[in-house]
Structure formats: structure tokens, C-alpha cells
């Protein structure tokens, strides 16, 4: 007698739980990020990059250096090399090493462990692998090239600005590369793809994708997606990321051309 009543009441309870829990969390999370007019929290449109500014030759005794401000993310990339490697070094190619460090004041809470932790080591290895592919290492056998990255102010994702700054520093150093390497992130919130996420947008539980490409060669160097995404949305995000990277490539190329113009006028 009592059991049929129990089983009929259970599914109703489950249904109401599902409805209330997903709807409310969706609205709490999503409505803060894109307003009704279509602008994000920091005033950008969904397909707009953050303010991008570059300055070259910042550390004159390095072979190449680049100071980059990508929105709130400020970082310094310096290149030393190519110089004579150790005796056990590769006989046909150059070795590329990467050293990544943050300052204590780069995030809002003072950070004591500035180098050597898991995130830094992963980023070092990732950047080293990316540039081992991108640089024509056969021109410098038995030598070593060092990349030093220092984050002065961090705004969420460090990997993309680091890759972009390192590309520009390599161009400043005059080391031959197969192509520019551009990287940017893309997210999917409220049925729209938004590019170039800042820290607030990254902390949401929405799908994210980081794409590193060589724009002129149309090659994907690295692609990271650690969220569960439907494959239609995935294709859309991939397209949006490619467009973002092409925008970034235009900005980077313009910066390099401006630098060349100022240097040649001085000469």
C-alpha cells in the first residue's frame, strides 16, 4: 500500500531539484558576464581583444627583449643567445631553455613562491616545446638559446601572453623563425563565443579553449581544452579562436613594423 505512493513521489522530487538547481546557477553565473546590450564586464564586445601594447629593446644587454601589456597582464620576455652550449649538447640543433618567474606582487594577494612550483614548471615546458618547433634550430648547431619570462602583473591566463611576448622577443633578437606564434583563449558563455578571457571570465565554470597557431602557415602548434563541450560548440570555439589569433597576428605585425620604422629613421 505504502510503496506505490513512495515510488510516485520520488520522481517528482527529482524533477523539481533538477529544474531549480540548474536554472538558478546558470543565471547567477552567466548574467554577470555579458550584459543585455552585448558588452562584457570590462566593456569589450565578445569578439574584441584586450588592449595590446608592446615595447622592444627594454633590456639592452640581452639579445632580444620585449615588454608587453595585454590588458592588465604585464610581462617582460628576454632572450639570451644563441651561445655556446655545453659539451653534451645536441650536435645538429639548438637547445631552447625557458625560465619563468612571477613577482610577489603580480596577483592581488602577495605570493611567496614565485618560481619552481607546478604551474611555472608546466608553463616552462610548454613554452620550450612550442618554440623548439617554431625556431629554425638547424641554423645554430651545438648552441643554446635561453628564454627568461617575468610576469609583473597577472590577469588570469599567463600562457597566451607569454607565448606572444616570446615571439616578439625572438623577432627583436633576430633569430630566424618559421612563422609568428600567436596564442589566445576562447570561452563560451550564454550561447556566445567570447575571445581573450580575463581572470574574472576564466574563473567561471564555462568551457574554455586555448589555441596556439602559426597564422601564416595555418598550423596549429598547441591546443588545450579541459572542459566538456559538445562538438558543434567546439567547432564554433575553434573558429572564434582562429579569428582571434589572426587579429592578434595583425597587431603583432604592426608593432614589429612600427619598431622597424623608428629604428631605421634613427639610422
Amino acid at each position: 500500500m505504502s510503496t506505490p505512493m513512495d515510488t510516485s513521489s520520488l520522481p517528482i522530487k527529482n524533477k523539481s531539484n533538477q529544474l531549480t538547481s540548474t536554472l538558478t546557477t546558470d543565471y547567477i553565473v552567466g548574467s554577470d558576464l555579458i550584459s543585455i546590450e552585448g558588452y562584457r564586464q570590462d566593456g569589450r564586445k565578445p569578439n574584441e581583444l584586450r588592449h595590446f601594447r608592446v615595447s622592444f629593446n627594454v633590456v639592452p644587454d640581452a639579445d632580444g627583449s620585449c615588454y608587453m601589456e595585454h590588458g592588465n597582464c604585464k610581462l617582460l620576455a628576454t632572450i639570451y643567445g644563441p651561445y655556446e652550449g655545453e659539451s653534451r649538447s645536441n650536435q645538429e640543433q639548438a637547445i631552447i631553455t625557458c625560465d619563468f618567474s612571477m613577482t610577489s606582487y603580480c596577483v592581488s594577494e602577495r605570493r611567496l613562491r614565485t618560481f619552481g612550483d607546478m604551474k611555472s614548471q608546466r608553463l616552462q615546458m610548454a613554452i620550450q616545446r612550442v618554440f623548439q618547433q617554431a625556431i629554425i634550430t638547424e641554423t645554430y648547431p651545438k648552441s643554446q638559446i635561453d628564454i627568461y619570462l617575468k610576469i609583473l602583473q597577472s590577469d588570469g591566463n599567463d600562457y597566451s601572453p607569454c607565448v606572444n611576448a616570446t615571439t616578439l622577443a625572438f623577432i627583436n633578437a633576430g633569430i630566424p623563425m618559421k612563422d609568428f606564434v600567436c596564442s589566445s583563449t576562447v570561452g563560451y558563455i550564454q550561447n556566445k563565443c567570447i575571445i581573450d578571457l580575463n581572470q574574472q571570465e576564466e574563473q567561471q565554470k564555462s568551457p574554455q579553449l586555448t589555441l596556439t597557431i602559426m597564422p601564416q602557415r595555418d598550423d596549429i602548434v598547441a591546443l588545450t581544452c579541459e572542459s566538456r563541450v559538445h562538438h558543434d560548440i567546439y567547432n564554433e570555439m575553434l573558429d572564434a579562436a582562429t579569428r582571434a589569433n589572426l587579429q592578434l597576428f595583425d597587431l603583432m605585425k604592426q608593432a614589429v613594423i612600427n619598431q622597424l620604422k623608428t629604428v631605421l629613421h634613427v639610422l
Binding site: T78, T103, Y148
Partner: protein, 219 residues
């Protein structure tokens, strides 16, 4: 705390580099915690209950010699510009509790008084000649150097000898004289530059739109 990771012109690596940074941090620490140089009571909020904790983090972007002095100049300049947020202190009579709230207005702040803070001057000896403010090449051949902490009035508050070379008493006396002459000069220069830099900044609105290493930012 001093961070020199990423500076390759400093030709010491690994454990020795950490010791070197700790040495500089220790001397700056001594200067800051000395009641005659820095008035620690201005950091007090409620006597016996709350006080401000100040962390000084220095990141070296490029090393060209004379790191001791440069760090002390940077520390003094940064401390003179530090904004201490205004606080609301409420004292509950019944429970004898003191609660401190930070004001929301970002333009209400107090400044620290660093007029008495000493500045480090390093005097080195290279084959009988005393040098001040050495470059990287001069640093590598200096066998003995003394770092003096000198107040704006010219009096010496801190002295530390570094390096494997030996110095006799006559040398030490003349080095002390050189340091106490150049100390007040550097102090005045530093204060003048801080003043100029403050005038260049906008007093309201956002910070300047220029990049960090732009020549216009420097004074």
C-alpha cells in the same frame, strides 16, 4: 624580500645567489626595523591590538652593478609613496572589543614618514682607489667593499664589509668620510626626483597611459 630571478648579468647562480639576495635583504631589514631610522609607531593602529604590516618586495629587472645602493633607493622611494588606507576604529565600551574597518574610499589615505630613512652607499676599493657607485665591471674586480647606511644628516647607522680583500684602518676612515659626504647628496637627489615624479603624475583619474619603460615616465 629580493627577487633576482631572470637577471643573467649577475654571474652567480644557485645557492650563492640566494645568499647574496639574503644579505641585501638583511641589511634593508636592519634599516627598516631600527627605531632611530624609521618611526615604527606610525604603523600602529590601536595600541596593543592592531598594527600595520609592511612587506617590501624588490624585483631586479636588470643588473648593472651596485645592487645594494639601488635597492635602498628603490625602497625609500617606494615607501615614501605608500598609501596607507584610512581606518575606522570602533571601541565597544561594554565588551571592550576593538574593531577596525578599512574605509571604502580609495582616495582617503595617509602617507608614511620616511624622511629619516637612511640610504645605503657602497664604497669599494680597487688597487688603492676608493670607488662609489660601481658598474658591473668595476664590481667584478673589487676585492673589498663596505656598505654604509647613511641618514640624511650624514650620520652612519649601518656598516657591513663584503668581499675577501683586507682593509686597514686608514682606508676604512677615508671610506667612511667619502660615504658620509655622498650620503646626504644622494638623499637630497632622491627626494628631489620623487617630488618631480609626483608632479608629473595626474592627481586624479587613472594612472598614465604610457608603457612602463617609456622614457617619458622617468624623471
Amino acid at each position: 624580500m629580493l627577487n633576482i630571478s631572470g637577471c643573467r648579468s649577475l654571474r652567480i647562480f644557485g645557492r650563492h645567489r640566494r645568499q647574496y639576495t639574503k644579505q641585501i635583504a638583511r641589511s634593508l631589514n636592519y634599516i627598516l626595523n631600527n627605531p632611530k631610522c624609521f618611526d615604527l609607531t606610525q604603523l600602529c593602529v590601536v595600541k596593543g591590538h592592531h598594527c600595520w604590516l609592511v612587506h617590501v618586495d624588490i624585483s631586479v629587472l636588470r643588473y648593472e652593478g651596485n645592487l645594494h645602493d639601488a635597492c635602498s633607493f628603490a625602497m625609500k622611494a617606494a615607501l615614501s609613496e605608500t598609501k596607507v588606507p584610512a581606518l575606522k576604529v570602533t571601541h565597544d565600551e561594554e565588551t571592550n572589543e576593538v574593531s577596525v574597518d578599512v574605509c571604502d574610499d580609495p582616495y582617503e589615505y595617509g602617507v608614511l614618514d620616511v624622511s629619516n630613512l637612511p640610504v645605503l652607499i657602497t664604497v669599494g676599493q680597487i688597487s688603492g682607489v676608493h670607488t662609489v657607485d660601481t658598474t658591473i665591471k668595476e664590481d667584478s674586480v673589487t676585492l673589498a667593499r663596505i656598505t654604509y647606511g647613511i641618514k640624511p644628516s650624514g650620520s652612519i647607522v649601518y656598516m657591513n664589509k663584503d668581499g675577501g680583500g683586507s682593509l686597514d684602518l686608514l682606508n676604512i676612515r677615508s671610506m667612511a668620510k667619502i660615504a658620509s659626504d655622498s650620503g646626504p647628496q644622494m638623499n637630497e637627489l632622491l627626494i628631489k626626483k620623487i617630488q618631480l615624479s609626483k608632479e608629473k603624475q595626474a592627481s586624479w583619474g587613472h594612472a598614465s597611459e604610457r608603457l612602463l619603460f617609456d622614457n617619458d615616465n622617468f624623471v
